[in-house]
Amino acid sequence: MLEDEPEGKKVTAAADLTQSKQKAERENWTRTLASLAESRDKQLFAQLFTHFGPRVKAYIIRLGMPPATAEEVTQEAMLSVWRKAHLFNAAKASASTWIFTLARNLCIDRMRKEKTQEYELPDDEVDPDTRDYGEQAVLEAQMKTVIDTLPEAQAQVLFLSYYEGKSHSEIAEQLGIPLGSVKSRLRLAFSKLKTHWEGRA
């Protein structure tokens, strides 16, 4: 009987359900972005904009930009999504990772004012990678679950790095811990994420 099941199992089942829903959603966005390059369909773009726009804006605000500028940079980032959609490669990144890198690069450009910076990963010459459509998105959805299980101290340095763009020494100063501790926490967090990544890849 359902009532007799231990509580934990139900919780796990619920978490699994959420996870697979998120996974499906992420694959879906990746597929949408990939088809945008072909179709140039403004309806598809509007969907992407509605989903990612507010997230990109939130990210840019956390990086320390005033909301009005954040709105402008978000528009700029989303316009690059439209213009650069043909460069998106679903075998290499999910939609959210690709959009994250576009937004990050724009912010860096803004903050430096000079565009001397190559911040895109160069393409590998021949890509023998024939992974399925959106498999990267699946891996990343799993990674998100692992991020949720990181110990507080590790999650904290990860958030300060990505969400606030803080350097190692700034984080060390803010938390009152040695530089070496910041780096070892980041390493630990990353290696947990990678174990998961490699285990499933």
Binding site: S96, Y119, L121, S169, G180
Partner: protein, 221 residues
């Protein structure tokens, strides 16, 4: 190119999160240009950013944002600067033998830079970038060593030509040394060829000996 020394994960995370000073970011980008292994790891670090973007608490856009955006889609794209075209970039990289991000920044081959002599057997070229720390090229003659030093922050070194050895091992073209406060070292050029490397720091170095302290104002790292 056989590469045996790579970045610390913590450095790739800093790169992916956009928190490195410009010089260090150029150095990381340059090594990634040569090193597939680090490229793959950097992609994973980007993916952490993607996951976190999904997870972030969204902030509503203004009411007419979408309408404005859709109006912009058909506007002609501003003319791109020729130097940002990928073909031009890689051509420049090929001519200079340097990785693209560095080639673009320097605009000329290593041998045509205005090197400044800063001591016996050591020449320097300052990239003059803004931000904390410094970004320099060092050209060191065979047998010469950099004074023994430790670090206040992080120090990244990318070997562009030649090789050196120190307490951490032997570093050849393409390799990176990724060290911080925990490491004190004294690199020495270990073949008959001069060694040219790109060095980027996010805080001044600490030279340990008297000679080192005297040299600091000149090296300025």
């Amino acid at each position: 190119m056989k590469i045996s020394h790579h970045f610390d994960d913590a450095t790739l995370i800093a790169y992916a999160s956009g928190s490195l000073p410009q010089g260090m970011a150029v150095l990381v980008g340059s090594h990634l240009h040569w090193c597939k292994a680090c490229r793959d790891r950097a992609r994973e670090a980007d993916a952490v950013g993607g996951s976190l973007l999904e997870e972030i608490e969204p902030v509503e856009m203004s009411g007419d944002a979408l309408a404005q955006m859709l109006d912009c889609l058909d506007l002609p794209e501003a003319q791109r600067l020729p130097s940002t075209e990928p073909e031009v970039r890689s051509q420049k990289a090929m001519e200079t033998g340097l990785p693209a991000p560095l080639a673009e920044l320097l605009g000329r081959p290593l041998d045509q830079l205005q090197w400044r002599r800063i001591g016996y057997g050591v020449h320097q070229y300052d990239l003059g970038l803004e931000g904390p720390g410094a970004t320099r090229l060092l050209r060191i003659a065979p047998g010469v060593s950099v004074p023994h030093h430790s670090h206040r922050g992080n120090e990244l070194t990318l070997i562009l030509r030649g090789s050196y050895s120190d307490e951490l091992g032997r570093f050849c073209a393409g390799d990176v040394a990724d060290v911080d406060t925990d490491v004190a070292h004294q690199p020495i050029v270990d073949t008959g060829e001069e060694c040219i490397c790109l060095i980027a720091t996010d805080a001044p170095l600490k030279f340990s000996g008297l000679m080192g302290r005297l040299a600091q104002p000149f090296i300025g790292l």
